[in-house]
């Protein structure tokens, strides 16, 4: 346990998550992600991939063990601090989580508005993010008039726009065609190059294999194999 923690961004110490139903979504997980790392999370349906990501973003709290993000022990984080923690962790969801009564622009701007950013800066950043996912033309439309893949990309833009140091993605390419998937992965790689730490849950084994990055495989709530474990 006596390693250099300066560069550790995400750290799980023997973490378990037991849901109120009694089901254990995760059991005894030890994990470390260094700053600037990019890792994939794979495993069967129900393996616990989403659960692991949700613990990092504090959408759930661990029932045992400790989760550290950016040197903060999430167990000890007060309720008042949770929003500020979430601003440092961008998350892309399996089910997009867009607001259907706001335009694409306003959806993407949300993390910046919430953080109290100025108007001009918001404009600039949102446009840049939408451009990156190829949806600049659609900034004024509402999410209902977007295809599934387009909604997915709006969700990705929203996670990118505030340039969080940590980016979590839950099957970001599940609804995208192979070409778009590759483009989005390119984008993630670019982000990784400027120092963002990424953890991506995916079923796309081919893509994972092709990129040759660290792969953490979950099986029934436990880490089955981890190609980049430092232990």
């Amino acid at each position: 346990m006596a390693r250099d923690h300066g560069a550790t961004v995400i750290r799980f110490d023997n973490v378990a998550k037991r849901y109120p139903t009694g089901h254990e979504g995760l059991s005894g997980v030890d994990l470390q992600l260094e700053a600037g790392e990019m890792a994939f999370l794979t495993g069967h349906s129900g393996a616990g991939k989403s659960t692991l990501l949700r613990l990092i973003a504090l959408l759930e709290r661990a029932t045992r063990g400790q989760v550290w993000v950016n040197e903060r022990n999430l167990n000890r984080l007060s309720r008042r601090d949770v929003p500020f923690h979430r601003r440092e962790v961008g998350m892309i969801f399996q089910d997009h989580r867009l607001l259907h009564d706001r335009s694409v622009f306003n959806n993407v701007a949300l993390p910046l508005v919430v953080a109290g950013m100025g108007h001009a800066e918001i404009q600039r950043r949102v446009r840049a993010a939408l451009d990156k996912v190829g949806l600049l033309k659609k900034e004024k439309v509402f999410p209902v008039s977007l295809s599934g893949g387009e909604q997915q990309r709006v969700g990705i833009a929203r996670a990118l726009v505030s340039k969080p140091p940590v980016l979590l993605a839950d099957e970001p390419t599940g609804n995208l065609d192979p070409e778009l998937s590759r483009e989005i992965m390119e984008l993630f790689l670019q982000f990784n190059q400027v120092g963002v730490t990424l953890l991506i849950a995916t079923h796309d084994i081919d893509l994972v294999r092709r990129l040759g990055r660290r792969v953490i495989r979950l099986h029934q709530g436990r880490i089955d194999s981890d190609s980049g474990a430092a232990t």
Binding site: E71, P83, F84, R86, R87, L98, V114
Partner: protein
Amino acid sequence: MNGRKRPPSFRRNRNPLTWLLRHAQMALSALGRLSRSPLGTLMTAAVIGIALALPGGLHLLVDNVRGLSTTWQGAASISLFLADDVDDVQAERVRQLVDQRADVAETRLISRADALDEFRRLSGFGEAVDLIDENPLPPVVLVRPVESSTESEAVARIAAELQAYREIELAQVDLKWVQRLAAITATIERGTLILAVMLAGAVLLIIGNTIRLEIQNRQHEIEVMKLVGGTHAFIRRPFLYEGIWHGLFGATIAVLLIVGSLYLLDDSVQRLAGLYASDFALDLADPLGLAGILIGGPLLGLGGAWLAVSRHLSRIEPQ
């Protein structure tokens, strides 16, 4: 644990100008959101308006009834009708005599002329009273017993003792019409109190209920806000502004309803006021009261929103 350094604390934006600007923006965008569902906004405002107008109107009514009855407040509980042959000087002596009793707190003499005047004024006979050649009313002494002797038996005992005086023809415990007026006033006051309590309850319930349903409606929005790092204060703010707007619109409708009702009631009231001359005029147009509604409405809206939001907001956590 192993001597880790204190984790960095989160940066918080506390620029007061930004803060003010954001609030103004939020107030406007809340208004914008309401204006996008005009029917719903109008319905909610109308319900609040009616609920506010009723206690407002009742308040005026109760005030007026009180105004009517103060004339009789502290009225005597024993009336001494003096003998027909007692003149006003003798009557005053009787009053002083009675006033010296230890169990009597206060006395007041109503001379024959005063009695007729009062009768003319209150009975409504008006000029017709002047047809009566001679004043048939005797002088009356009103007696208020001391506090400790106000139970009916004590009062009845005093009345019986006073009856023994030669000059006193009849010692009547309480004038019937004073009792009646007091009873009517008490009934109306109690009734309006019950109504006011029910209506105040209704206002709170309506605002609370509306905001509860609104919050449920926007559960998804709240979840997403929390997901991207919105603080409780930030998420609560639009609801508070909506509460304020709802309250303001409701108050405006309430004022319109009250003024409209006054207009509809105006001629009846005018007639009444004319009939009672200066004695009893409904003082309905109360600009202070209306201003109170216009200020109180938004405050009530804010309060209701605060309660409802605080209760429900923390329960909604992103899945």
